[in-house]
Amino acid sequence: MASSKDGNKNLSISERIKKNKETRKSLNIIEKIVPKLLLLCAIISVFVTVGILYTLLSETFTFFAEVSIVEFITETRWQPWQDSFGILSLVSGTLLITVIAMIVAIPIGVASAIFLSEYATDKVRRIIKPILEILAGIPTVVYGFFALTFITPVLSKIIPDLSFFNALSAGIVVGIMIVPMVASLTEDAMSSVPNHLRYGALALGATRLEVTFKVVLPAALSGIIASFALAISRAIGETMIVSIAAGATPKFTADPTQSIQTMTGYIVQVATGDAGYGTTIYYSIYAVGTTLFLFTLVMNLLAQYITRRFREEY
């Protein structure tokens, strides 16, 4: 080995490169194989998606062979054990939770992001950001427990006729869970607005607040809206908190003080319950799952549209 190295030393660099290329033919094979392996991995996720969709849709069709789709969409009662399948009850539960969660998460999340991106010194940012991230790392079952044993008792002191299981408490806690996500994504979007835009406005005599609201936020709007869309999807899909704290009584209502049931909550209840394979109730969870999927799909498409519509290129 040493002797061949010494031998190589007498050659010019270009000759040595040529020689190395010849001895490293095997590298070329790796160059060809690796991309194919990478492609394979990418395809796996496509197949899994297609597989899930196939299962979801085929079982959903079975369900609609037994229950009319018109009843499913227009009926307001969801009492599967009495053969009433009106998805509106579950949808209203989900929307109630989502709206409450967003009322909590958007103001707090955006305000935190504005503070972190525009006002906080590096030192303060280094302290607050990790704390926000800890909040994001708490298991949702703990949040559910927190809603039931802390938020609900506090709320019931303010609202005396609050049900023990209720949408308000669960919605607030789902909102708290989502705050770090909104804050972090919004902060990313704001931080990536180039400083020269801030300077341009400051040099015109704008105050920090005017720069934030009239330059930075509009420039970051597409990223911020994308964060809202992700947050809404997350709230729609949240399962554990609502299963624990929101109750299991499907109701077509907009009253947050009552016990309700969300789409996810229903799926958990049936999937972990004793509904037999092949029964209408069993198939109904696929129909609910498809509805859930459509909701998040529409959310994502809407977000993409809004992002493109409001984009300020910089």
């Binding site: 020269h196 300077y199 015109l204 105050t207």
Partner: protein
């Protein structure tokens, strides 16, 4: 340095020192800036000329570790006074940056941004301001048919003139320009230089440039900075023809920098 024609000083800088943390960037600067003139600041990279310019509208304070001593009097009041409003200063002392930095909005919205934050809201006045400012920046004819298109669709030179127009829209007293043509092609540079000549009738202009020919072409007075010191400051013709300081001579004859 007595003014022959008795023009007023807009800025009187007295014993100005400036530090970035522990590094001193400006040493004991004393300098009067005269109204309705173009004052050029030249010097090699890192000599403190941009820092000095940004001190005049206190943009330099956006770097948190900056400290200053001494005084800068703008129209007689010290801008470092605690009671002096920095927003008010920047409303009177506008700035054009090295890289054109229009907002990612329409041409129209760019121009009315300043007037709007200062409380001017009625459409008629704003329309008037847009036309006047764009004419002032010699850009009106080029953009009058596409005022509502995004300013980022314009060329670099046009974007820089948008920034000048944006600055004119709030009718400042002084315009600071930080190497405004260094990112522009020669034709756009020429246009901006002609514009500066035009603007000095109504405004006082301080321009930092790394281009000595440019300073010689467009300025009335020139200040030469080196290593944070003001080496020489006099009429542009005098400074370029008979520099008093050996270091100035070395620099303008291209012996260093």
């Amino acid at each position: 340095m007595a003014n022959k024609n008795n023009k007023n000083a807009v800025f009187s800088v007295e014993n100005l020192n400036l530090w970035y943390g522990d590094d001193q960037a400006l040493y004991d600067i004393n300098m009067d800036i005269t109204e309705n003139e173009v004052t050029a600041i030249i010097g090699p990279s890192g000599c403190g000329k941009s820092t000095y310019l940004k001190t005049l509208n206190r943009m330099v304070e956006l770097v948190p570790i900056v400290r200053t001593s001494g005084q800068i009097k703008y129209r007689g009041s010290n801008i470092f006074d605690k009671s002096y409003s920095v927003e008010e200063l920047r409303t009177k002392v506008g700035m054009v940056f090295q890289q054109p930095n229009p907002f990612p909005k329409s041409i129209y919205e760019n121009i009315v941004y300043g007037p709007k934050i200062h409380g001017i809201k009625d459409k008629e006045t704003l329309d008037h301001i847009v036309e006047k400012s764009l004419k002032g920046a010699a850009l009106w004819e080029e953009v009058k048919d596409r005022l509502h298109e995004n300013a980022y669709g314009l060329s670099g030179g046009q974007q820089q003139r948008i920034c000048i127009a944006r600055c004119l829209a709030i009718e400042p007293d002084v315009i600071l320009m930080d190497e405004p043509t260094s990112a522009l092609d020669p034709i756009s540079t020429l246009k901006v230089e002609e514009l500066v000549q035009e603007l000095k009738k109504e405004y006082s202009i301080v321009i930092v440039t790394h281009n000595m020919q440019q300073a010689a072409r467009i300025s009335d007075k020139t200040a030469f900075f080196l290593n944070g010191e003001l080496v020489e400051y006099s009429d542009t013709n005098t400074l370029f023809s008979t520099p008093a300081d050996k270091r100035t001579e070395d620099y303008i004859t291209g012996r260093f920098g």
